[in-house]
Amino acid sequence: MVTKTLAELSLGLKQKTFSSVEITKAYLERIQKFNSKLNTFITVCAETALEEARLADKHLQTGQAEPLTGIPLAYKDIFCTQGIKTSCGSKMLDNFIAPYDATVAEKFKTAGVVLVGKTNMDEFAMGSSNENSYYGPVKNPWDLNVVPGGSSGGSTAAVAARLIAGAIGTDTGGSIRQPAALCGVTGLKPTYGRVSRYGMVAFASSLDQGGPIAQTAEDCALLLQSMAGFDTKDSTSVNTPVPNYSGLLNTSIKGLKIGLPKEFFGEGLNPTIEGHVQNAIKELEKLGAVFKEITLPNTGLSIPVYYVIAPAECSSNLSRYDGVRFGYRAKDPKNLEDLYKQSRTEAFGDEVKRRILIGTYVLSSGYYDAYYLQAQKVRKLISNDYQKAFKEVDIILGPTTPTPAFNLGAKTADPVSMYLCDIYTVSVNLAGLPGLSMPAGFVNNLPIGVQLIGNYFEEARILNVAHQFQKVTDWHKKMPPLGNTL
């Protein structure tokens, strides 16, 4: 039962092949069995989940249930869930019980979702390996010595290990797509403004987006349908209609023009990954897609631009953590300065501190023009590159990551080497475009992914292409051999 996709679970519930309580119990048992080794969950909500499942079952009896009614899901611990601990993977919020629901959580509640637990993550969404969590690193279920990617590593590992059929994460520079690729699952970052950020704890406000993580594009479409939509509580939420994502999955891709940025296939890309990408291209060509080389000339600047803008915004967003109204507070501060400094120093991890410092620096007097303002301008150049490209092609394809998952601890010595994991993903956030990663092969028994990038609000299109790909391949069906390794 636990290997079923969301679509299969939804059908099964509708047809009364099994009940929500049954599948919820199945997942809870599996989590009980494997979580300590994988460390994917920070909080498991066993009691409330079963209660929600019971209610869902009642609703399912009426025949008026929605597609997600009774479906167990997990949320990255960055989404505020009322009455439930919301830690953002940080000591700073280890004792924080959210007093309200994020809009996305509320939407899922209304849809009848069963919340099984909150997943582990890099602290405040800062990281590419899920090694920066106060609660310890998440292990990649394909190889426990290897990272799952980050910052949504808990969500992607949980789905990969089939501890849950679907989860949600957030993506600021690649934090859904990169771990999805490294764990062998499908993950989507929607267009900026497509999914409400209200209740999604902010890291970098102009880059953050919440999105679905599941085994298949079909499942992601199902989740996105509930997540997407205008929210008056979020000033950056866009009021544009939500298409029927599921209904558009089977559109023919014959004649679809797909661009291949030459900058994504250069030095640094693992040759086996490149081979898999070429295979993916062949499969899509068989389905009628037409490929063309394009150029995104400013790709090389995307990491530096990202590491000016994201830290700048986060340095401001994280100022509210001061030990006064919620969260961690240092014991016996001597004075106000001490309260701030000790609370923040004791409760933030190293990466968070590094980014706050860089962010403070690039905004500071005398440096603002050279760094922050300049970065915003180069950001525009990067965005323009994409718009130029989209005049020639419908979507863009490339590898999600330059390498497969690396060993735990391999990149912690040098922060910059860790940052380079996101080379293919950050420009998508900078431009605000939708991006998806789908499983496309293995390198040394570790999964890798292919990324699809669409123009604004073209989630339906990239889900469509991914779904077509997944109809003729089975990478997404592969499961880590948990029975043996755990």
Binding site: F79, C80, T86, C88, L93, F96, A98, P99, Y100, A102, R197, Y198, G199, M200, V201, A202, A204, S205, S206, T232, K233, D234, S235, T236, A312, E313, S315, S316, L318, S319, R320, D322, V324, R325, F326, L336, Y340, T360, L363, S364, S365, Y368, Y372
Partner: protein
């Protein structure tokens, strides 16, 4: 206060005007003054993880109103920026304000100085920002208590050019701005409650010098009187320093009313680098011309327009017109009184400015709390003007109006206070008085002019004050 003609005072003022919106600038929490601590602070005001700001449309309208009233440019696009610093009354660790692109720019405010000349002060900008909370420093055994009710209430910060040249000018500017925001109904301007807060940037320079001297900022003075005193003290202090060869340090100072001095403020802001950047949670505020026109139509008659109209329409002096238009409520009261009095503007002006305001001041009431409604006062004045009663009797009726809900006519009727204007009746009384006081008559006729008053007094007494004074005078003169 010394007037050193050697030195020129240069003052620029920053006024924080708290807006009268029902809810906060970026959240739907209430804004009532005096609520129990933290009962009007929602998760958005408290800066909880994951919250986001959404802009209050009324605050934007109020800003446009102000901009139009000061003849300023309304920015077609303005941007909210974060001002980053740490302080307990600032929950997010940043204040959402406006920096490079404020909503209002380049306006001006004009007002009359004591000598009657018109002074025009340029206003650099006015922008929207959220207010901070309050620290209660009462000793909670070594702690300060923070109340965040005020956090998030909308403010407009109005920044003037350093065009003011004396404390008196500064106060006149403040009073004009104060009256304006109340006229526009965008703020109650209550300085004690903190809805109108003035910071003064004060510097001096040798007369004739064009470069600005180093300035000190005096923060949060909460009355016009204190503003004047604080500026005067500061000017003296700076002149003393410079004349003894010491430099003026750029710093923030607080005014102590008890000691009548300014002292440096313990560094709340130190060498603060606010690291302003556009708030990524908010989009630029775009104001279309049709919104500006819609707001323009809702503008009331502005104070200076009203004052000019009062001078002309009612034939009032500049001074009287200014007093009567110092608040919209008072102006309305006056005009209603004039109407009810059957168009007696001069009498109405005297009664409103004299007896009414005097009585209100004594009872510590403002015009909106007046026990005498404008219609009733007008009714009284009507009867003075049509000579039903004398001016003297009117004063007693005034007291009766104050203490009852009856109108003048009822009181006059009940107490039989009609003036006696019948010439023969008055003559009769006068004859009696003359007959009864022969020695005084003789004295008067022999040159003691002062005794005239005695006879007037006697006649008035005999007529219970109701005899028409002019007629009494006229007839007495004839008869004596």
């Amino acid at each position: 206060m010394t007037t050193q003609s050697k030195w020129e005072t240069v003052i620029g003022l920053e006024v924080h005007v708290q807006l009268l919106t029902k809810s906060k600038l970026f959240s739907g929490a209430a804004t009532n003054y005096g609520a129990e601590p933290n009962t009007q602070a929602c998760i958005i005001d408290l800066g909880f993880p994951g919250i986001l700001p959404v802009l209050n449309e009324e605050a934007v309208r109020m800003a446009i109103k102000l901009g139009l009233a000061i003849n300023a440019e309304i920015a077609p696009k303005s941007v909210f920026a974060r001002k980053n610093y740490f302080y307990p009354d600032l929950p997010k660790g940043y204040q959402i304000s406006q920096y490079e692109l404020p909503i209002v720019a380049k306006g001006s405010l004009s007002f009359s100085l004591e000598d009657g000349t018109l002074k025009k002060v340029n206003i650099t900008r006015a922008h929207l920002e959220e207010d901070a909370g309050k620290s209660l420093h009462e000793d909670f055994h070594g702690y300060s208590g923070i109340d965040l009710n005020r956090a998030g209430i909308p403010l407009i910060e109005v920044v003037s050019e350093p065009d003011l040249r004396s404390a008196k000018e500064a106060v006149a500017y403040l009073k004009t701005l104060h009256s304006l925001v109340r006229y526009l109904e965008i703020s109650d301007g209550n300085m004690q409650e903190g809805s109108f807060r003035c910071d003064a940037n004060v510097s001096v320079r040798p007369r004739g010098e064009t470069k600005l001297g180093t300035r000190a900022e005096i923060k949060n003075v909460n009355s016009f009187r204190f503003v004047e005193k604080a500026i005067n003290f500061e000017v003296e202090r700076q002149i003393d320093l410079l004349e003894s060869g010491k430099p003026v340090i750029q710093e923030t100072r607080l005014y102590n009313a008890d000691k009548d001095e300014t002292r440096p403020m313990r560094s709340k802001e130190e060498a603060n680098d606010y690291r302003y950047f556009p708030d990524p949670d908010l989009l630029p505020v775009v104001i279309q011309p049709d919104l500006i026109e819609r707001v323009r139509k809702t503008l009331p008659e502005l104070p200076h327009e009203k004052t000019a109209r009062f001078e002309e329409a009612y034939g009032l002096s500049k001074y009287d017109a200014a007093v009567l238009t110092s608040s919209r409520e008072l102006a309305n009261y006056f005009e209603t009184t004039v109407k009810a009095s059957n168009s007696e503007p001069k009498l109405s002006a005297n009664w409103v400015m004299g007896d009414l305001l005097g009585a209100l001041n004594k009872a510590n009431l403002d015009i909106t709390q007046s026990p005498i409604q404008a219609e009733r006062l007008g009714g009284l004045i009507k009867r003075i003007s049509d000579k039903t009663i004398s001016g003297k009797i009117a004063k007693t009726i005034f007291d009766a109006l104050w203490n009852s809900k009856e109108d003048a006519d009822t009181i006059i009727q009940k107490q039989g206070l009609q003036q006696v204007t019948d010439t023969s009746a008055i003559e009769a009384i006068i004859d009696t008085i003359i007959a009864e006081n022969p020695s005084q008559v003789a004295d008067y006729r022999s040159g003691k002019d002062k005794l005239f008053g005695f006879f007037v007094g006697q006649v008035m007494k005999a007529s219970q004050g109701k005899a028409n004074p002019e007629q009494v005078n006229e007839i007495l003169k004839k008869k004596l």
